[in-house]
Subunit: 276 residues, 2 copies
C-alpha cells in the first residue's frame, strides 16, 4: 500500500527533526537582505533559504501571498522553488489557505496537489469557513503521498471569535475541524493524509490531540512569541514525528550570508528537537 | 472626495443592471465548449465571456481557482482578462477568497488591490476564518474606488456549521461578519468600500440587511438553484444598486457561439432587473 502524507512526513521528521522553514519573502525581509523588492529579490531569498534548509529541515513552507503579489511572474519563482525543493528531496507545504465551495475546490486541489500542475506541492493549507465538508475535493486528491493541512486554530488573537464559536451541537468550531479531520484520517491505516494547523500561541483545544491520526503544522513560534517548550507541552503525548513546527521570520532575519542562515536553521532545529 | 467602491458599483448597477457574470472556466465547461482544457481553452472562454458581458453586466467575477490550476501560465491569462476588462470599462471582482493573518494579508491585498500589481482588480473576495480583524490590511487597501467582499454566508449547505456557530456574545458568525463590515463602512459617507458575500440559497440572517452601507455579492442563482425572485425577496428593502447577483454556469452553458452567449447574458440581466 502506498504511503500516506502523514507517514512520509513522519519519516522525514524522524530523520531531520521537526523544523519547517517558512519562506516568507515579504517586502520588509527582502529589503532587510539588501535586495530590491522585485521578482529577482524574491527568487534570491527563496532559493537561498531553500539551500540552507536542505540538510536540517523536514520541510519548507512558502507563503504563497508573497509570490502572488507579483502576479504570474511571482508564480514563476514559486514554481522554480517548488521544483528545486523536489529535486533536493525537501518536502514542500504550500501555505495558500485556499477554500471555496464545490467544483472550485477541485480546481484549487488540482493547482496544488496534482502532478500535472507546475505548482504541485507535497501538501497545501486550506481554510474551512465554507465548512469542512466543502473541502472534500482536497481530501480526495490528497492521496499517493500528498496531504492537506486544514486551519483549526490560527496563531492570531482575532481568530478566536470564529474558531471558538459554538456549533448547534455545542462544539467549538476548532474542535469540529479537529474531529472531522480525525474521522477522515481513519480511512487510512496508521497516520493519514490530513493534518491541521494549530497555532502554538493558543490554549489546548478540548479535542484530544493524540487522536488526530495525522500531522500538526504549528505556526506562532519565534517572532510571534511562542517557545519550543510551549509547543512541547501542547503536544506532549502525541506520537513521535507528528508535529511540524514552522519558523520563518526568526530564521530569515539572520540575513543572506550563507553560514549565518545555515546556523540559524540548525539552531532552531536543535532547539525544537530537544522539546519534541 | 474620491468615490468609494460601493458608490462606483452602485452607479454601474444603476446603468447596467445587477448582473455579475461569473467567469468559471472549469475543465467541464471548457470541454463543453469544444475546446482543449489548456491555457488556450481558458483564454478563449474568458475573453469570449468578457466580450458578451461588456454591454449588459455591471461586473465580471473571474473565479481564480480555474486560472491557478495552470500555475503562472493560467495567471498570465487572468492578467490579460483583467487588463481587457479594465480597457472595456467593466468592473472586475477577483473571486479569490483569500484570507490569512497579519502581514500575509497585506501581501494578498497588494496582489489584488494595488495598482502596481498585474492582478489588480476592482474588488476581491476574502474569507474571515482567521477573524474579521485579521482582514484589516485588505480594508486599509480598499480605498480609491477599490473594494473587498467578505464571506458571510456562502451558498452551500456544508457552510452552515461554521457560519451559524455562535460566538461568546451569542451572535451567529455570519451576523458577526455583517455587523463588523457595516461598522467599518461607517468610515465613509454613503456607501462604503466593503461588501459581503451572501448566498441566495440561505435564509435571512438576523442582521438587518438594509444596514450594511455597502454592496452584497450574491452567488447561488441559476445552476445552484436560487431564483431571481428569491433574491428580490431576501434584499427587498435594500437601497437600489447595492445587490450584485452572480450568474456563471447558467450563462456559460449557452456555449461559445457569440449571439447565444450574448442572449444568455441579456436574458439574465433582464430577469434579474425585474426583481431588483
Amino acid at each position: 500500500m502506498a504511503e500516506t502524507f502523514g507517514q512520509r512526513l513522519q519519516e522525514r521528521i524522524r530523520a531531520m527533526g521537526p523544523l519547517c522553514v517558512g519562506i516568507d519573502p515579504s517586502s520588509a525581509l527582502v529589503g532587510a537582505w539588501g535586495r530590491p523588492d522585485t521578482v529577482e529579490g524574491l527568487e534570491f531569498m527563496s532559493l537561498a533559504v531553500l539551500e540552507a534548509s536542505i540538510t536540517a529541515a523536514a520541510a519548507i513552507k512558502p507563503q504563497v501571498a508573497y509570490f502572488e503579489r507579483f502576479g504570474s511572474a511571482g508564480y514563476r519563482v514559486l514554481e522554480r522553488l517548488i521544483g528545486d525543493a523536489h529535486d533536493a528531496d525537501v518536502l514542500v507545504i504550500a501555505d495558500a489557505k485556499r477554500g471555496d465551495i464545490g467544483a472550485t475546490n477541485d480546481a484549487y486541489a488540482r493547482a496544488w496537489l496534482d502532478e500535472a500542475s507546475p505548482l504541485c506541492s507535497d501538501a497545501v493549507t486550506v481554510s474551512p469557513y465554507t465548512g469542512v465538508g466543502a473541502l472534500t475535493p482536497f481530501f480526495e486528491r490528497a492521496t499517493r503521498g500528498r496531504g492537506v493541512f486544514v486551519l483549526a486554530a490560527t496563531s492570531n488573537d482575532e481568530g478566536r471569535d470564529v474558531q471558538r464559536a459554538r456549533t448547534d451541537a455545542d462544539e467549538a468550531v476548532e474542535d469540529l475541524v479537529l474531529r472531522s479531520v480525525a474521522q477522515i484520517n481513519r480511512r487510512d491505516e496508521g497516520l493519514g493524509s490530513l493534518g491541521v494547523v494549530l497555532g502554538a500561541t493558543r490554549d489546548r483545544p478540548r479535542f484530544d490531540l493524540t487522536m488526530l491520526q495525522g500531522p500538526y503544522l504549528v505556526p506562532g513560534v519565534g517572532a510571534q512569541g511562542a517557545t519550543p517548550e510551549q509547543v512541547g507541552r501542547l503536544f506532549d503525548r502525541c506520537p513521535e514525528g507528528t508535529v511540524l513546527v514552522n519558523v520563518a521570520r526568526a530564521i530569515l532575519e539572520a540575513g543572506p550570508e550563507r553560514s549565518a542562515l545555515r546556523d540559524a536553521v540548525n539552531r532552531w532545529r536543535d532547539n525544537l528537537t530537544s522539546f519534541l
